[in-house]
């Protein structure tokens, strides 16, 4: 193991880690928005939209991100739609993550009992008020563990964007292996970088899950 070399390349990994985080953050935020939209469409059974949303969810869940990226990045320009690699990655992650987030929200919404909704109605709240003050907060509390797990999933999924030549952690690693043959050092840094990003998140999630389970407001 070449410690000097590791120090030398660490700045490259820092850059790449920042990039990975940036991409993942945008992906997660868009996934949350798409997921929320889809779950609400399904929850309130919006007629026409419901069909589209369900097809989207099936497509998203049953195809690999890598193929989605290849299609977006290499396929679409041939029919006149030219998107940058970063845009493709963001679209791909949002397309993938959206259906996972929709599932997380669905679980939360379904956990709110009919009795709670009726209790809200019976004190004279409108449907919109019941949604805002009763359904949302309760659903969110139930969804948070799955939302967190999905966020981690999305971060991990970014590990394939080097396939469309984005300079993430995998890209840097491959580069260093290719140029310097310092395989061990590069792989070590790769694992360390992912652990630094994912381990705290994963521990935080475990902690939140426990808190929600044991001290949650549920009666």
């Amino acid at each position: 193991m070449d410690i000097g070399f590791i120090l030398e390349i660490s700045s490259l990994y820092l850059e790449a880690a920042k990039f990975t985080l940036k991409l993942a953050s945008i992906g997660i935020i868009l996934s949350l928005l798409i997921g929320l939209f889809c779950s609400l469409v399904n929850y309130y059974k919006v007629k026409f939209l419901k069909k589209i949303v369900n097809w989207y969810i099936e497509l998203s869940r049953n195809t690999p991100l890598l193929i989605q990226l290849f299609f977006l990045y290499y396929g679409l320009p041939k029919v006149g739609i030219k998107l940058g690699a970063f845009t493709c990655a963001v679209i791909g992650l949002a397309f993938l993550g959206g259906s996972y987030m929709a599932e997380a929200f669905r679980g939360g919404l379904e956990a709110v009992s009919k009795a709670q909704i009726e209790a809200g109605l019976s004190i004279g709240l409108t449907k919109a008020q019941v949604t805002r003050y009763i359904i949302f907060p309760q659903a969110l509390a139930v969804s948070i563990p799955s939302i967190g797990a999905n966020a981690i999933f999305i971060i991990k999924e970014t590990s394939i964007v080097s396939a469309i030549s984005l300079k993430d952690l995998m890209f840097v690693t491959k580069d260093i292996i290719g140029i310097y043959y310092k395989t061990n050092e590069a792989l070590l840094m790769l694992v360390v970088a992912y652990l630094i990003i994912l381990l705290p998140l994963s521990l935080l999630l475990t902690y939140i899950e426990r808190r929600l389970r044991y001290a949650g407001f549920g009666n």
Binding site: T63, P64, L66, G75, M170, T183, N184, A186, L195
Partner: protein, 225 residues
């Protein structure tokens, strides 16, 4: 020359080649899935052990496998292991090894979940009506565990198939790689080939995975009661 358009898919033996590539993908997925199930079941049962140390070791394995992206594991085995041991392993073998390690962990967790979620009184009520331990397992525990397990296992298989798409990145010639080759060799006759070929592969994955997930969901719904 006129663009072939979607016909690029059936030009020459292209369709045959693509399907051949797909078969390689699926073979890797199926072999890995079988290994994962075979090892995952005992692993899951071990995970329910009362011994704290055993549980800790299992847990560590599971979490370690989970927290690192599969792509990174592929890199470690493809680039790292040869460097450390001097043995070069072919990409498809690496894939099977990595997917099996990952799948065993996930399968084990499913099994653990299925076994521990069985209410205790099931076992006790079995005892109460005078069944032997063996009878309790074969009539009560195992059938119920399988019911709880099957949907998750089927979902794991679809995840496995989807994840198999990554092996192209460690040089395995599978459907995506064959696709690239087709696109390259038809770059003149069919400039739009990459749209059709990648679109087709997207579609292929969908028609494989969609029925399987549909089946899993049906089972889940049917067995919910």
């Amino acid at each position: 020359m006129q663009d072939l358009g979607i016909r690029v898919l059936i030009e020459g033996n292209n369709l045959y080649r693509l399907m051949g590539g797909l078969l390689i993908t699926i073979r890797i997925a199926i072999i890995s899935a079988i290994i994962s199930i075979l090892f995952g079941i005992p692993f899951g049962i071990v995970m329910t052990s009362k011994n704290k140390l055993v549980r800790f070791v299992c847990r560590t394995y599971l979490e370690a496998v989970r927290i690192i992206p599969v792509m990174v594991w592929l890199f470690i085995f493809y680039f790292g292991v040869p460097k450390l041991t001097g043995i070069h392993i072919a990409g498809d073998v690496v894939s099977v090894i990595v997917f099996s390690i990952w799948g065993t962990a996930e399968m084990g967790d499913l099994v653990r979940g299925a076994v521990t979620s069985l209410p205790k009184h099931q076992k006790e009520s079995g005892k109460a009506i005078g069944l032997t331990n063996l009878q309790i397992y074969s009539y009560i525990i195992i059938p119920q565990s399988i019911r709880r397990l099957l949907p998750g296992t089927i979902n794991l298989v679809t995840r496995m198939i989807k994840t198999t798409s990554l092996v192209v990145l460690i040089g395995v010639v599978e459907v995506l790689k064959v696709g690239q080759q087709v696109i390259e060799s038809f770059v003149l006759q069919s400039p739009s080939a990459s749209f059709w070929v990648y679109g087709f592969i997207f579609f292929l994955y969908f028609i494989i995975c969609y029925p399987i997930s549909l089946f899993a969901r049906k089972l889940e719904l049917r067995w919910k009661e």
